[in-house]
Structure formats: C-alpha cells, structure tokens
Amino acid sequence: MRPRSLVGPLLLIALGILLLLQTLRPQFPLWEIAAQYWPLLLIAWGALRLLEIFAWWLRGLPLPASGLSGGEWTLVVFVCLLGSGLHAAHRYRPWDRLAAVAGKRVELFGRTYELPIAERAVPASRAPRVLIENLRGATRIKGVESLEVRVRGHKTVRALQDSDAAETDRRTPLELSSQEDRIVIRTNLDRAPADHRCSADIEVALPKGAEVEVRAREGDLEADFLNSLSLTAESGSVRASNVQGAVRLHLGRAASVKLMEIGGAAEIVTRRGRYLELDGIRGPVSVEGFYSGDLRFANLAGPLRLQNPQLTLRVQKLPGHIQMDLGDLAGVRLEGPVHFTSTRTLDVELDEFTKGGEISLDGGDIRLRPAPDGLGGLRARTRSGDIELAVPESASFQLRARTERGSVFNQFGPALREVAEPRRGGLLTGGAAGPLIELETLRGSITVRKDTGPLPRLRKESARETIEIETGDRRLRIQRH
C-alpha cells in the first residue's frame, strides 16, 4: 500500500490560519505579505514533500514514481500565476494609474470654475516676516506704505460639476494668520482632491520692510518693493524688482527669471532655466544652472559668478553688460580679472574689460579689446577658432601668440615680430615690459591689431531713463527702457 501525502492537508491548515488572522485582525497586512512572500509557499511545499519522501524511504515504504504528480504541478502553475499577479499589482499599483486616468477625465470633460477668494487682512509691523505658500498659480507681492498684510485673488478649479467645484473650494480655504511678527499665508491647495486641478492667483500687499519667503510647486511670482525675498519652487517664472536686501531663488525649472534693482545679494539656483536677466544688483550675484535661452547681466556692483557643468564665468564687477546665449557671449565694460571657461563651442567677444583674466574655450572664436587704461595679464585659449586682439597703440605689454595650425597676422606694428614656426603654425611675440598676454589656438588664425574703437559687432546698450525715489532710509533707482 503506497502511503498518501500529508502536504495537502498541512498547507490547507496554514492557509486557514492566515485567513483567520486577516479576519480577526483587519490591520494584519495579509495581502502585502502574500504579494511579497508567496514563493515561501512553494518552498515549504517542496520541503515538506522532501521530508516525507525521506521518511518513507527510511521506513522502507514504496516511493512514488515522481515526487509531484501531474495534478500537483498544475496547481503549482496556478499558484505561480496568482502570486506573480498579486506581486505585480502591489508593485505597479494599477489603482493609482486608474486614479490618474480619472484626473485626465476631469481635465478632458470638466469645466473651469473661477472662484473669488474673499479679501482679508491682518495688522503687521513695519518689517514683518511673511511666509506665503501657494502651490499652484500666480503670486503677486507688492510692498506698500501700510501696516497690514492684505490678500485677495481668485481660485481656478477644474471639476466635472458645480458641487465638486464648491467642495474643492470649501476644502481649500485661504489661511491668513499672524503670530507676533510672523505672518503666514496659505492657499491650502494640497487639500483639494487629487483629480481636481486647482490653482490660486493671489495678490498680497504688505509693508515695504517685509521679509518674504515663498514656497510653491509651480507658478509665477512677481514681487516689488520688499526688504528681502526667498523662493523655493519646482517650476515657474520670477520677476522681482526694488528689493532692498537679498534675493534667493531655488527653482527646479525656471522659464524666466528677471531681477532688477536689488540692494543685496542675488542667489539663483536652478536645474534648468530658459531666460535670465539681472539688472542693477548691488550685492554679489551667484547663478547656478543651465540656461537654454538668453542671459543678460547689467549694472552689477558686486562680483558675478555663473556656473554650470558646461561653463564658468567670473567677473569682479559689471558696470556695463553681458549678453549670452548658447552660441555667443558678448560683454562690454567688465571689471576683471575675467574668468571664463566653456566646454561647449561658443564665440566670445569682450570689449573694454579691465585687469585681464583667463578665457579658455573648447571651440569658438575670441575677440578681445581690453579697456585702454586697464590692461592686465591675459590668457586666451581656444582649441579651434580664431583669436583677435585689439590693443591701444601706446600700451606696454608682452605678447606671446601661438597657433598650431593657421597664420598669425601682425597689424599692430614693428613692436611685434613673427617667428617662423615649423609645420603649419605661427608664433607672434613682442614687447618688453608690462603685463603678459598669451594667446593660443590649436587651429585658427591670430590677429593682433591697434585699437581703433569699440568692436563693431557688439550690441550697444540702449539708452535708459533713470528715476530716483527716496523710500525710508534708502534710495531706489528705477530704470526704464
């Protein structure tokens, strides 16, 4: 008589105990455990069967022809399918995707509801600290001569029907609270149902001495006449002007950033940006991040540092302006030493810059015209491209200009002399005293000529109208294009 296996009943008992646990203690995460550890069932099944067979063998009982019958293997296949399905469901969470599809449905078939936000105000001191949390939407902040913080605006809700929109509106009340010197403004959009797209456009009027901190996920910020501004957001645009102190922006993606008339430091950190314009910054400027559009810097009283994995630019002061995009950098009236390195191919033109510096390009042309009264030690190097240098006739300097493959042109005069180079390169040296100017290109020509006026291709700075306003103990300058 062949013995019958005990594994089936044992497994049934184990399954019963697990299900009982689930019914007695609903918080017992049976399905999570089952999704992750169902293969243990196969292992236990196999191990029990193995022990059984060894036991039969030791007792000299007849052994089955195969350890598992065809029917059992079929059951194994079903268990594997079920377990894998459970595991996949827990890992990829299809119910979340269904919710996302439901959100799309609202986007496609829903209506947009504009709901007003009732105007509210709280009293404030002359220099309150204000925190504004508006996850989505435009935020406008304006400093005014008053001793209160006043908020108004409207909400935009996308929903399928009126009652849904009203419910979303009810769940996201505007919060305006004041504790001593700290004022908090929250639009509470995070409380809206996940499938209702909700944004709030708010206008905040506050005392001019306010120190403002803004937290957002996406949206645009406009700020004028504040004491200081700090922003953290995932994406959006910023325009700020007439801030007496520092401005700090931490933006994931910046469509455009424009800062004008900032009394303190400006720190802008982005992952990716498009347009950047900084005009009239008194403190140090630090810009980190990659910009795909135009960058413009003008009237910087402190040092400028621009950095991303592809390039580094450092200037000590910028009375003039710098304009750059992906293919060009043009600067006028820079106080150096100017430091610029780029691993991207880029043409560089610097006009009227002082104290020399170092320019190193992976590719691209370099045109330089140092300021007549501010010649400094200068090194310019490009791997592939032409270099042109214009120096005042009266300047004293030492020159060493070398091309590996290309020609050197001396349009300066007899003070410089060409040295014949082996192969196809050229070397131009000259001068006896003064700062050393080194020019080097691996492939391209080098021209040194007399200074005959500004570089012709450079864009001229537009004439501006300047208005000065006294505000409190500070004087603000507004410029109009």
Binding site: L40, L42, G46, A47, L63, A65, G67, S84, H87
Partner: protein
C-alpha cells in the same frame, strides 16, 4: 532495473524543483535578481538531478533500443 537509490532520487526531483522555483521567485520579489535572469538555474538543477539518477542506475530507456 531502477535501484532503490535511483528511485529515491527520482522521487525527490519534483520537491527539489519546486523549492528551487520558490527560491527564485522569492529572490525576484526581494529585488535581488529578476526571475528573467535566474530561470536557467531551474534547467541546471533539473539536469544535475537527472544526471545523479542516471549514474545511480535508474531511468533506463524502454520502449526502444533493443530490449522489448
């Protein structure tokens, strides 16, 4: 003729395969190695067990090869 040892090896083949399968799935779910990468182990285990069985004298071919 299958020896007693060969019969044992044949009997434990199924349970051992099942345990290997369970271990590979568990390995997959714990995020160490995906099943799609480890499944050849099943073939190897099956091959090794079959080999042991044959060296023990079991699994004689029948129905063809001379003997009726």
């Amino acid at each position: 003729m299958a020896t007693a040892k060969a019969a044992l090896l044949r009997a434990i083949r199924g349970p051992l395969m099942l345990m290997t399968l369970g271990a590979l799935f568990l390995w997959d779910h714990l995020g160490t190695q995906p099943f799609s990468r480890t499944f050849p182990i099943l073939l190897i285990v099956y091959g090794v067990l079959k080999l042991l069985e044959r060296t023990a004298g079991g699994d004689q071919p029948h129905g063809y090869g001379g003997q009726p």
